[in-house]
């Protein structure tokens, strides 16, 4: 069995399982974020953020999530590196041979999952520094702004809505969200295919589900910062 995770399909199995888990996390995250739009007093979002920060189940899931992200990145790097080595072939007489592009038969995002992943990772680091790190560790005067709720509850709404008044910051979020959408466009179906949970009929259904998930998550995460930004300038 130890060979399983060394094999080509075994490594993809890890990508698939961690990827599916991360999608579940993103759905929860977007649900919490949507409170920003639903209630413009910020009370609902602050309550939801407080619940997510203090709930014991979330405390257990958090390290699993971190491990999931790390495994997804590690295995993606390993697979991409190994495949790159098999891709560029040093044929005698040909300086560097890059396999020709099969643009006509494959879609761009399926060929560039690692690049899209790198964009998402860069975004994730920026995102964590500005929100997660401040809320959890360093704090911010914005978080201490009074809310209509109890004084224990941090005003995460104030932090988020203030941050999204800067246009270039919003742009980073939109780029991150579009990359995520494209990543999921291929990723959702691919995860099922790798686990063997696909066939002729389900391939079509899973492709549609993949498009729906990518539009909802990619579009949703792009929409919220834009919504806050536009609201702040009008």
């Amino acid at each position: 069995m130890s060979n399983f995770f060394v094999s080509s399909i075994g490594k993809k199995f890890v990508m698939s399982v961690t990827g599916m888990f991360l999608i579940l996390f993103l759905i929860v995250h977007l649900t919490v974020n949507s409170m920003i739009i639903i209630d413009d007093t910020g009370a609902l979002f602050n309550k939801a953020a407080h619940f997510m920060a203090t709930n014991p189940i979330i405390k257990i899931i958090e390290p699993i999530l971190a491990i999931g992200v790390i495994l997804h990145i590690l295995f993606a790097s390993l697979i991409t590196l190994q495949n790159q080595l098999k891709r560029d072939i040093n044929y005698p007489g040909l300086r560097r041979y890059k396999k020709y592009d099969t643009c006509a038969s494959t879609n761009w995002q399926s060929r560039n999952m690692y690049i899209l992943g790198t964009v998402i990772l860069t975004f994730l680091v920026i995102h964590l520094i500005n929100f997660f790190w401040k809320i959890r560790y360093t704090g911010s005067p914005l978080l201490e702004q009074p809310t209509i709720l109890s004084s224990e509850i941090k005003n995460v709404y104030a932090l988020v809505t203030t941050r999204f008044t800067t246009w270039w910051y919003v742009l980073i979020y939109v780029i991150g969200a579009v990359a995520l959408g494209l990543h999921l466009y291929h990723g959702v179906w691919s995860a099922f295919q790798t686990l063997g949970w696909s066939n002729r009929k389900w391939r079509k259904i899973l492709n549609v589900i993949g498009v729906i998930i990518s539009v909802i998550l990619g579009g949703g995460f792009a929409f919220i910062p834009l919504f806050v930004f536009i609201k702040s300038i009008i």
Partner: protein, 253 residues
Amino acid sequence: MKLTLKIWRQNSPKEKGAFKTYILDDASQDMTFLEMLDALNEKLIAENEDPVAFDHDCREGICGSCGMIINGRPHGPGKEITTCQLNMKAFKDGDTIVIEPWRAKPFPVIKDLIVDRSAFDKIMEAGGFINTDVGSAPEANTYPIKTHKAEEAFEAASCIGCGACVAACKNSSAMLFVAAKVSQYALLPQGKVESLQRAWNMIMKMDELGFGSCTNTGACEAECPKGISLAHIARLNNEFIKSGFNKLFADKH
């Protein structure tokens, strides 16, 4: 019609190769692609030059011998055809055609457009077989098989092992080939006995021989001359993961 041909010439696996340009004046649209290459070779022989070496056998699309990358596509333009089924009607007067061998690490060039595809044979030896009683043919209705399963298995069995999937894949993965070979047995009762070993052994061999992994782009399916579906790769993944869990939990395997 007049054609400019840029063909990969390489004398042996170790020697340096390069593209060489040839002008062919008397090609006709009535020729097949391989007949056009035959015409070029006749011209080269008449000029005392070394003819271009390429693989071919049945010339009717069922043996899997022929295979070259024509203008960047395995088996050239056209859907679900092999190189020998490619007609010169696909080209017009004055065209430049770039002809290369399959490029993949496990397929070293033997000479010019011929590559060594014995890696496929090694994968087959690792698990592409069934154990069965020898003797006279069994009664045809001994094993009832549902039509859709028989058809699915037949599609998988139509793989001719040409290697276009490997040539098309950006990762040089042989997953579509292995998937077809695993699928044709996995669906039939005769193949059940070895099913827990077959996918495992064939994939381990595939990895060992230096083929890449599948990233589900679908380039193989698009270029396969037999139109073999990615659905077979899903079945292979399923069989392999089952083998993995079986190895973990079963005391004997």
